[in-house]
Symmetry: C2
Subunit: 472 residues, 2 copies
């Protein structure tokens, strides 16, 4: 066993389009309360490593997710370093950045690269397996956590294990193989292949050495992006120019398939990458008709299906093996066998400029959230929720006036320099062009209904004069 | 040919639950713009008989539909007598009431009982066929309009035609048979049976005579309900006590299966009773994948399906022969083969006290409509539309205050006796307990956003002090 704690490098920058419409680019699956405890997989990942055997984590995420990352960490009481990627890159960039940061904690540091969007059933076993992998890593191996298949899945890549190493379940890694067809998957399972979970344990010096050997551009870009990084509130923002030069490549292709140090540990914990809706179905408890029914739903004469509603009454009659997911602004109906095609659907929706492809109806901001509840030719209505103590930017609009009606809590409103307090069941009018700011000075959430009236009510009609979240 | 025009008796009181969620009890399918021209089938039925060969129609409907009936008639410029049934009865009651009213137009009057929820392809042929049937009716026959089958449907009852009568397509009616299974339907088609459209042409004296003979309770109840009827605004409201005593029975069972005078005309027009979603699919034009896609929808790898959205983005992947219908507050997903089970689904929803089983989100009123757009623990937000010249009741609430923001048009607001005009982008506050009234004095629709705040925001917290629509 290693003496120093393992440095978790949590990769939380993915787009998660395969779980659309629940997961969307601006609020992807790792941040959505998918689990029964009301936690996101990102939060569950953090709790899994809240243990003396793990060090303060490094979170690598997209700059667009910075506030939700900070808020979700605060909710579960886990602190860490939040590193912002200026744009989306594949996993090699994140591992390189994470390894460089972990190296600063000590020359012999062992890191674990963890996906933020996986589900693990048995946390104690997960931690034990990490310790075993860390021991191999300290001896120079780059250890992949392999999963003993529960069936011949075609959704995962496989790993052929080689000669045993000196710890239970640890082997040399013989080769990676791509996602197979059904027959090949059955053969792999019979031959004892493991699923590739995409989580790795390594000594940072080993990983940095292999990156230097096999992916020097990735390493050089990561080093430059970090040297030029800027502190932004509580975040470390990597340099955009340097980061932009890093090739888009996964750590599997960049290093794991080439290194002579690769090992694999046959992990003993239940695991799912919840990669698509059929995986969600698989991991949930079923009713007497083998259905998973969640929310305001009713199914008649249907079996083996997942039906989930965020709000709208959603009904199914006479269909087996389907997935139906309804949200406030989008509905997905798919055969379970076609669940993997959701990614292609989202791409088609993007080409068609459907807002729903990328954004939820409820938009999260550092101060809370807003949601459009109605829109017409010359008006728009929003529900706005401001968390206690939070404050929107000082702003003005060129094309719309706003009426605010407070329905819960108290608003402190600054209007052209004058501050007033608006209580529940009171309203205030903000004429076109006025400079205004909304603040929740109270102890409970502030909720208000905003009625916008004007010739244009788009989000981009906003001039931010001052902002405590550095968005001006 | 008969000399006097035929009296149309339009039966517009049905509940239409088989087309849920588009059709709901409080606004059923006959009033929904299902047709490509944006017309309801009720309106199309009225236009079909707007011809010199037809007299002023008698509309028999449920009292709950009186305002939508009046409004839809006005929209297409058709006048008629609107008779209100105090509760739902089957077709024998409607035919009896209609025949009694038609008799007042002349002793030899010929009536046609028409369903308000059928689709007819060729209006000219429809009218010609009605004239042929009327000629037979004048000679003492009760003529059913039979439809030449386009395939072995199991959704319709069939009619066996007997010996020819003295007009093209007219036969004695040999027998009615119930909806068959597929094999039987094929045999019926091979034997030249016709579909039973449920539309009848008769001399009113003949029909009343047969009702007296075979369904005396129906006739007696209809006579009493009519003698005691009350005029209510522009409507004739049948007496509730007398009407309530009429047995629930269809005209087929009450008279047509028993009378010796039954005839059938093999009608030459395209026809559908749009009885379920599969029938809607059948009557619409298909795309290259045999799909019918309407509204904000996207389908991938799907064939032979109907996908229809009122508003919410609705997507389908990898499913054939399905029906997906999404409205603002309810989604139906069904195999096309199970479309007939929607009625049972709606019954299950009613048992579960789902509001969506019976009401739309948008609620029509004699003055316009309103729609809930958001609701919370102590507030509710509505969009309210008032037609030009219309006026809501003078009212007050015990548990809620209201904020009105006008987003289009001009509101004339009476507040505790004081009248003021609120224009676009202006608002007014109505405290709890105040006596208020909303009126649209202008030439365009008045639209406003109402934010209700209070401990209870249910619809039943309303005291109507005065109402031009007699609802106090």
């Amino acid at each position: 066993m290693t003496d120093t704690p393992i440095v978790p490098i949590v990769m939380a920058g993915g787009a998660g389009t395969r779980l659309w419409p629940l997961s969307r680019e601006t609020m992807p699956k790792q941040f959505i309360p998918l689990l029964d405890e009301g936690l996101s997989t990102f939060q569950a990942t953090l709790l899994r490593i809240r243990d003396a055997r793990f060090a303060r984590p490094v979170i690598i995420t997209n700059h667009g997710f910075r506030f939700v990352v900070a808020e979700q960490m605060q909710m579960v009481g886990v602190e860490g370093d939040i590193i912002l990627e200026p744009e989306r890159r594949d996993s090699a960039a994140a591992v390189a950045v994470g390894a460089l940061l972990a190296k600063a904690r000590g020359p012999q540091a062992v890191g674990i690269a963890l996906a933020a969007d996986h589900v693990v059933g048995d946390v104690a076993r997960f931690r034990e397996d990490c310790m075993i992998a860390a021991q191999m890593a300290a001896e120079g191996r780059i250890m992949t956590l392999g999963i003993v298949p529960t069936g011949p899945s075609t959704a995962y890549g496989y790993i052929e294990a080689g000669a045993p190493l000196g710890a239970p379940g640890a082997h040399r890694l013989e080769r990676f193989v791509e996602k197979p067809d059904r027959a090949t998957a059955e053969r792999y399972c019979a031959q004892g292949f493991l699923w590739n979970s995409g989580n790795f344990v390594f000594c940072v010096e080993t990983m940095l050495g292999e990156l230097a050997a096999f992916a020097p551009e990735v390493l050089a870009g990561a080093e430059a992006a970090q040297q030029e990084a800027q502190t932004d509130l509580d975040f470390l923002r990597l340099d955009a120019t340097a980061f932009g030069r890093i090739p888009r490549i996964s750590i599997d292709y960049a290093v794991m398939e080439k290194t002579r140090h690769a090992g694999v540990l046959a992990a003993r914990f239940d695991w799912s990458d919840v990669g698509a809706w059929d995986a969600i179905y698989d991991m949930k408890p079923k009713d007497e008709n083998d259905n998973v029914l969640e929310g305001n739903v009713l199914a008649l004469d249907s079996r083996g299906s997942l039906v989930r509603s965020e709000e709208i009454l959603t009904t199914v009659i006479g269909l087996d093996e389907v997935v139906v997911v309804s949200t406030r602004d989008a509905v997905l109906v798919a055969s379970k066998a076609a669940a993997g095609k959701v990614k292609g659907l989202v791409e088609a929706l993007k080409r068609g400029h459907h807002r729903e492809a990328e954004e939820h109806l409820r938009i999260y901001r550092p101060w809370g959230w807003y949601q459009r509840i109605d829109i017409g030719t010359r008006f728009q209505v929003k529900r706005i929720n401001v968390k206690p103590g939070r404050k929107l930017s000082l702003q003005k609009h060129f094309h719309r006036a706003e009426h605010w009606v407070v329905v819960s809590g108290t608003a402190e409103v600054t209007l052209d320099g004058t501050v007033s307090h608006i209580h529940e069941n009171e309203s205030i009018y903000l004429p076109i062009g006025c400079v205004h700011r909304l603040h929740n000075p109270g102890r409970i959430d502030l909720e208000l209904i905003e009625v916008q009236v004007g010739s244009y009510t788009g989000e981009d009609d906003i001039v931010r004069i001052e902002d405590i979240y550095a968005r001006t």
